[in-house]
Symmetry: C2
Subunit: 754 residues, 2 copies
Amino acid sequence: MSKSTQVIGTRLKRIDARGKTTGETKFLTDIKVDNMLHAAPVFSHVASGHLLGIDTSVVENDPNFVAFFSAKDIPGENQVGVIFEDQPLIVHDVVRYVGDSVGILVAKTAESAQRLSKLVMVNIEPSPPIFTINDSRDCVDNFIHETNLACEHQVKRGDLDNAFKGADHIIEARFETPLQEHYYLEPQACIAQVTSEGGIDILGSIQCPFYVQKAVSKALAIPFSKIRVEQAPTGGAFGGKEDIPSETCTRAALAALILKRPIKMVYERTTDVQLTSKRHPFQMHYKVGVSNSGKLLAAEILLEENAGAYATLSSVVSYRSAMQAMGPYVIDNISVESKSYYTNLPPTGAFRGFGSPQAAFGHERMMDVIAAKLEMDPLELRLQNILKVDSSTLTGHHLKSSVGAEETLLTAASACDWEHRESNRDGRWKTGWGVSLIHYGNCLGAAGWFMDGSGAKIKLHRDGSISVAFGLIEMGQGALTIVQQMTAEALGVEPSRITVLPTDTEQVPDSGPAVASRNVVMTGNAIRDAANKLLPILREAAAELMQCDLKEIVIENGVVSNVRNNETLGFSELTNYLYLSNRPMDVLGWWHVPELNYDPALGIGEAYFTYSYATHIARVKVDTLTGVVKVDKIWASHDVGRAINPAGLEAQIEGGTVQGIGWALTEDFRVEDGKVLTDNLTTYLLPTAMDVGEIESILVEDPESEGPWGAKGIGEPAIIPTAAAIANAVSNALGTSITHIPIKPEYILEMAGD
Amino acid sequence: MSKSTQVIGTRLKRIDARGKTTGETKFLTDIKVDNMLHAAPVFSHVASGHLLGIDTSVVENDPNFVAFFSAKDIPGENQVGVIFEDQPLIVHDVVRYVGDSVGILVAKTAESAQRLSKLVMVNIEPSPPIFTINDSRDCVDNFIHETNLACEHQVKRGDLDNAFKGADHIIEARFETPLQEHYYLEPQACIAQVTSEGGIDILGSIQCPFYVQKAVSKALAIPFSKIRVEQAPTGGAFGGKEDIPSETCTRAALAALILKRPIKMVYERTTDVQLTSKRHPFQMHYKVGVSNSGKLLAAEILLEENAGAYATLSSVVSYRSAMQAMGPYVIDNISVESKSYYTNLPPTGAFRGFGSPQAAFGHERMMDVIAAKLEMDPLELRLQNILKVDSSTLTGHHLKSSVGAEETLLTAASACDWEHRESNRDGRWKTGWGVSLIHYGNCLGAAGWFMDGSGAKIKLHRDGSISVAFGLIEMGQGALTIVQQMTAEALGVEPSRITVLPTDTEQVPDSGPAVASRNVVMTGNAIRDAANKLLPILREAAAELMQCDLKEIVIENGVVSNVRNNETLGFSELTNYLYLSNRPMDVLGWWHVPELNYDPALGIGEAYFTYSYATHIARVKVDTLTGVVKVDKIWASHDVGRAINPAGLEAQIEGGTVQGIGWALTEDFRVEDGKVLTDNLTTYLLPTAMDVGEIESILVEDPESEGPWGAKGIGEPAIIPTAAAIANAVSNALGTSITHIPIKPEYILEMAGD
């Protein structure tokens, strides 16, 4: 191995910065393929019903019309469920939401595809829809699927009854969190082409190329080996391009297969918002027993989730929210039940955090409710119960190292001078402070262990340049630059030598989904594995070339040295020698999460292999006259294990925090009869620069031994604590308990008027 | 390993048969890329001179004109020599042949690019050209390059003087062979594109993607890691797409880089014939000492080659012809000098056989001259001197196994009933019989050992399908099918599971050039290496899944069996389990030719690691009235080590033999003042079905221990003996010695009139 880390920890400029700022980067809308046709979905406009027929006669004479395909055209299985087989690729009987696709229309232009798709007559016999968790749970017949319970997970640990009996206080509260739209800047988009050997090539704005490969294989009855999925530059995803591209790409591939022409499909924004997955709304009931001194003794938690029309990734959301339901605190007696219910809303699926922001809203609001009840400093209450090395999580996972929870809390508190925080509760503008502390299980966890492996390929070129391919993706998070840095570090060379290749299912083994903040940990370790195979070859060649002992070779910063006599060799001289001596120059690396000791029946054990921790402290001003909440500043302290690229981490923290602010305050996703009312940016208000105030990022480095150079994931932790911190601050400002978000002016006025 | 070979040796249908016969396969001319421009070369119309200037003013106002680029636009080195640095990418001063490119013109359509390129005024001050080997060798000043000797190789072994002294007969003869045009059906073609990160993507009808990558890197000063070269379906190559695409693709890439738009360049046929490389013309002088009984005692051989304007692959041609100059015979005292001379003809380069067909014409005609002198049966003379196991080649390479020379001779002789062959020397039609025996060193040999490694990647998918990537290419020879068969065999599965990916520099390590009949040996061994890494993983997983001992697992024909209890498991169940147990499913394989013990100064030792052997026997009818030679039948017996796909081998043998017939009889490549006169199919006569007679392929399998399943190369051996066999047959018919080809009617009439 190279001796010291020289690249890790540097603020390397993003590889994709230039292309994305100059507009040179070609997103899918910019890409044209010869002989290409355009597709648009034809979908249900009622939320629940039975498909009676589809009449395309009105569009068939349009000169731009090419074809319409429905369920009967699918050669393989009409099934696109990511985890459960509950979702047809194209509906042929039961319609379950406004947006359920009944077909795909192909036309000569994108405009005509969209226009004509809206003219197709879809004849549906409506049935009474169900939109709420309560209605779904309480339903006794006419279930949306075989049952309305999409999935459930639980944690049952300790002796709850006795623990509650021994508690000085038993405190209960209910919280609710709403739908959230991903609102990635680039809508769903793909191009599907048929190869001359009858295979399918997909180029897509996607998060999980290997999911798409599987979906296409299943529906089109084509083996995996004939399906290639490449990721195009992707303008945001946030989980919204985890499940949906399996639908969009497969439908486009179906049309391409039948027509033998390339098919492009880019969703219009309003279509995208109506059809695609959202963040699960949660209803949460917390019942917590504490001692007078504030020790958490028992908790009984019920999380109920609105899964929408199809399960998609509800199981992951349900699992993760259960595993983290009481936050990073020691609590030995706990019952968590987490249940997802089908409704006739658009399906809810993966969204940055997978239920963690919702659970965090629950446990962190609850901690403040407890603190208020005990008249304790909320920070003090958290510190008293906080997870440390050698303590166990709520699932009973004994933590041996890399538990930065306390350090994030203390560094955030110190940065904002929590002890001397001023509150202003008089007058129109009230100031409030809120703290929120979270843990986040890295990668897929015990429930997804079977697919929690990732690959990387390092390719040395004889001129000393290096290509690296990885199995996860860049979707705005800075993955390319991190991959570049980790490869450089692993090999002991300058980052400028390294070209990171676009993700392509043919380059590396199935590396699982680009979700769950996996990239740094999974790809980093795969890169280290590849480098560990390559370095002995490099060193052996160097010793041969420099005629010295293997042990005398050091490769550092792109220079190969003989430490005995300080002779040096450029890295490219070494790679050229490698080439000339017929050594293989491509190496595949692989890493999977260590096996986890976990009991799925009780939800006890190692739910994840390690956890990231974060504290957000929010200072808000509440205008009691207008009801407007203004976030002054958020101090965001994150235990990232090891900072690979501090600039990238800060950007992730800022981006996540802003998305959390939007969810907490401005984003009010409205649906009426299953139809989304807020399907554009004039009605769905993303936070602007004016709304977000100041964000101070603090990086805590408590290295994880299994992480590459100690690193842990950051993608999702960045958003998880924010909304709770803001809600706690507003509660603090108003002296009342905020129970749901978004905290709209109406809500404030109502609370302030109490 | 799988127990027995079930796929090797079967006549599997070609993977690419359907696409190529239905027209579904898209060749480069069929491929359009969005926003693409078209390029055509602007080249010299004089054979020798000094470039004074280029005037594009006449085309600049054409609405289709886009740009013209010359040498001054090259950001890197203006150098494209494949082995020697003697060739500018774009000429900036000295012009060396009619076709030397002085620039590249870019226009909006292919038609306008070609039209306008011809209107550009190229001002060249002519100087006296040199066209023949003799003029080049004898030249004393005004050399074409620093010297007129492009390169030379030699073999000096034994005691020549003494051996000649001890010879009963010393026989001398001179032979000549002409230029030959590859005449691949698809001309040179490529598309170059700039990536948003400033890299270059090339899609080309090419033989050596890694050569193109190197050439682009050098001229455009872009690291290898930013250059991706993919091979498009390639309509023939025969060596003609080894060197030339480095020029064409790099010039197109230059234009793409500057204009930031995709550039397509497809040569018109006449341009292609004028500009691209040909088979080297040879002048050969043989002086051989033999005993009365016909034992070869000494040989002094001078091979002189017309290299044309640039060396390109002359060094390989010169080396290979020297190493094989006396054929597969035992001869202990030998001097071979092989010299390539620059002239002002189009460059001669790689062409199926790399000088072997020329050397074979020399040594096999010489053997017949000797036989005639000794009044021996030509077959008997060959048998007496033939290489066998434990004998040494003319370079002193001691052969330990896989020497099928004798068996090819005997099987061919037996098939045609040589002993009872009838000759008809009376009347207008004379019948003649000729035999020709050759050896062919597999792969690049000692002179190219440093780049004689190849890779393959096997990718298992969880559905049991398999992708395989290789570093060499399909150019009509059936490589895809062979790769499929070898992968199936190596893994113990059915070929239908396997998809062979198009060649792409990003998939596998630099695997060297797809030349020298390398594919079966190199790729086959790389596949075996990959499979040897994969099989233990598969077997371990199978044992785990079937709960049995590793040793009890057999994987055969896509079925995994426990031999103890005959339980079985489908291959896809096993791959799915591999996936679910987080095992890596991609494996890279690598193989390089064993190190060779060779002395380059004397040309002594292991010139190649093994040799293929072949005998062609031709029966011809010579019409002494018209001078037409009619090939009745050719018996072509080839030692291929092991027949991977007999159908493919027979097709290769037939194709090579036909190309040999063309070179021997119909193809008369004419150049006047450096300008090719025969630049289309009405003037350059490829043999038609009417010209080739019957071909009987005989496969001899003398396994090579280093070859995959014993296999050796066939691509080039197929053409090597043909012309000599025909010339020997014509000589036999006429009772005179044919000394040069093509054997045109004029030549016959002249000979017959003697």
